[in-house]
Amino acid sequence: MMKPGTLILHVAARFLVPLQLVFSIFLLLRGHNEPGGGFIAGLVASGAFALYLFTFGAAVTRDLMRVDPRNLIGIGLLIAMISALPAWFHGQAFLTSQWWPILLPGGTEIKLSTPLFFDIGVYVTVLGSVMTMLVALTETEER
């Protein structure tokens, strides 16, 4: 395990982690018609937290994440699962995409949809599972 506390790593982590998280959100929202999506965005986000983990250790990272990564897995799966259901209420097959376009003042349109929620679910699940593994490995190492 990398020794925590080197100056360059410290400084870099402080700047890179927020950037990487923003980038992951960008990838997530870009996903439906262009390259990107929940899985890759989740990996980028867990990359950010992994960097933080290597720099400051497991306990600090847990504080930063606020949610236990193990909880994230279940929550993400649940979100993805639920996104399959709205089609049912419209009498369509499960997983049929539902679109709810919202017109914002100023003419921009936001398209909310079930694929978006599915992607968010995947994002959270990937983030949760990667971080569960990494945190568990780090904690055994630190002990």
């Binding site: 193990r70 909880n71 897995i73 279940g74 929550i75 799966l77 649940l78 699962m81 399959a84 089609a87 049912w88 009498g91 369509q92 097959a93 499960f94 997983l95 049929t96 995409s97």
Partner: protein
């Protein structure tokens, strides 16, 4: 839109996700396990009802019509298999209340169980060959993790064989799908069947057929690549072995039934002949392997192999009656085999070992348990009036009618040897006095009546199912007969999926 065909997949996934969220509370997970499995059973019965009522139930996932999207199809065979999955889920969920140790629960026992059930149900319901591969993988990943819960040395050893052989099988399966896709340009099973009957029958089709046979044969633990099963099934937690014994190999058998009735039905004189000899050797090696064993669960594992042979025999003979027998056999076998594993778990709880030589005296202490053992054991051996008798009777009769004398003779001999194995267990575990040097663990706190009750409930329920099939076999036979009819007439399936007569 008819939701019932997707619900058996969605329900376990949903409860799996919920019990992952509740990972801190073992109690919560147990409750979710019971609710989830009962819901699964209800949904699957709903599915069976509507299939009986209106024929094939089809759903195009995401609204993408066949053959482009992924289709879920339930014909009678799928519906029966899903109902059996639901029944086993309930049995295992109740059994786990007492048998699952807190450390297993902490490492995701219940979420994995739900995931496994979703994979099994998905494999039964999908109408897309690649999607079938995906569900196989879902199921395998869950089963790998379940098998090594606890992390003992023997478990690792068994799991390595299990993982290696199953990965090999997956690789063959995937390459076969690739070749098939190259040949017909579609992945929808109904569409493949149509396209394949239109293309010229070349050697390549036979090659692909044999590849599928090997891939599913490994999963079903058929001869010659069955040895991963007796090497691994007895190592896991007992509820897990019971679930695996009941369901996992049967997914392979189901896939064989599906593929070799729907897709590769052009040259039965080659493919089904091959299956026939595979079935014969599977029966024989399985039962001979069992005769040499002296560990409760290992004997039962070898018997899974030999019983798989009977089911394949039903498929391989490929007459209407033989297929009825095959389907009937699957139904009977899932219930009986799971039950036997559960009983081995109870005996282990009482006496602390699976080794036949150190066991004994159960009949004296617990006569009721002995009777509960006798029901599935004699049924497995095929004694009337239990369910196994009718299952074997139909298959052997079909064999005689098809004039496949050698195979039929083997099936009869294997039945006799099965009886020998069951009698061996009976004599060693239940009849003979407890060896003197054995210390009873009856004082063990975990054998208090309330915790034993949860072990007994599923055993009694499954025993009742066996008796019901045996004493009132007619409705079950009729369902099996109807499903065999559907299997022999793939045009129905194709029409239901593609919505036109080919």
């Amino acid at each position: 839109m008819r939701a019932e065909v997707a619900l058996p997949i969605l329900v376990p996934l949903l409860f799996g996700a919920l019990s992952l969220i509740a990972w801190r509370s073992n109690l919560m997970q147990r409750v979710l396990g019971i609710i989830g499995s009962v819901t699964l059973l209800i949904c699957s019965i709903w599915l069976l009802m509507s299939v009986l009522d209106q024929g094939h139930v089809v759903m195009y996932m995401g609204g993408w019509m066949a053959p482009y999207g992924i289709t879920l199809v339930a014909d009678l065979l799928s519906a029966i298999m899903v109902v059996l999955t639901g029944m086993m889920a309930v049995a295992i969920a109740i059994y786990s209340l007492s048998s699952a140790s807190p450390s297993h629960e902490k490492f995701g026992y219940y979420p994995l169980m739900h995931l496994l059930l979703a994979g099994v149900a998905g494999s039964f319901l999908t109408g897309d060959i690649f999607n079938l591969y995906v569900w196989f993988e879902v199921m395998l990943i869950a089963s790998f993790a379940l098998l090594i819960l606890g992390g003992e040395r023997a478990q690792m050893e068994g799991a390595i064989k299990y993982v290696t052989l199953n990965l090999l099988s997956s690789a063959i399966f995937l390459s076969a799908i690739g070749l098939l896709y190259g040949l017909v340009g579609t992945l929808n099973m109904a569409d493949i069947a149509v396209k394949l009957s239109q293309t010229e029958h070349t050697g390549l089709v036979d090659v692909i057929a044999v590849m599928f046979m090997i891939a599913f044969g490994i999963k079903a633990a058929a001869f010659p690549l069955f040895f991963w099963l007796p090497a691994s099934y007895h190592t896991g937690p007992v509820a897990v072995s019971a679930l695996f014994a009941g369901l996992l190999t049967k997914v392979g058998v189901y896939a064989l039934f599906r593929v070799f009735t729907l897709i590769f039905n052009q040259s039965p004189e080659f493919t089904h002949q091959l299956l026939l000899w595979g079935a014969a050797f599977t029966m024989l090696t399985g039962v001979l392997g069992a005769a040499a064993q002296f560990e409760f669960r290992r004997i039962l594992s070898f018997h899974i192999v030999s019983q798989i042979g009977y089911m394949l025999l039903g498929l391989a003979l490929f007459t209407p009656l033989a297929l009825v027998g095959g389907v009937f056999y699957i139904m009977h076998h899932i219930i009986v085999k799971t039950n036997l594993f559960l009983i081995s778990g109870i005996v282990h709880r009482l006496l602390g070992t699976y080794d036949l030589k150190q066991l004994g005296g159960v009949y004296k202490d617990r006569p009721y348990l002995s009777i509960l053992f006798l029901i599935p054991a004699l049924s497995l051996a095929g004694l009337p009036p239990l369910s196994g008798f009718f299952a074997k009777f139909i298959i052997i009769r079909a064999g005689i009618e098809a004039e496949a004398w050698v195979v039929t003779a083997i099936a009869l001999i294997v039945g006799l040897l099965t009886l020998y194995s069951m009698i061996k267990i009976w004599a060693e575990v239940f009849w003979k006095p407890l060896p003197e040097n054995h210390s009873t663990v009856d004082s063990n706190p975990s054998t208090k009546p309330s915790s034993l009750a949860f072990l007994y409930i599923p055993v009694v329920l499954l025993g009742a199912c066996t008796l019901f099939i045996g004493l009132n076999g007619q409705p079950i036979y009729e369902i099996a007969e109807a499903s065999a009819k559907q299997l022999l007439n793939p045009a129905l399936y194709i029409e239901a999926v593609l919505g036109e007569t080919p």
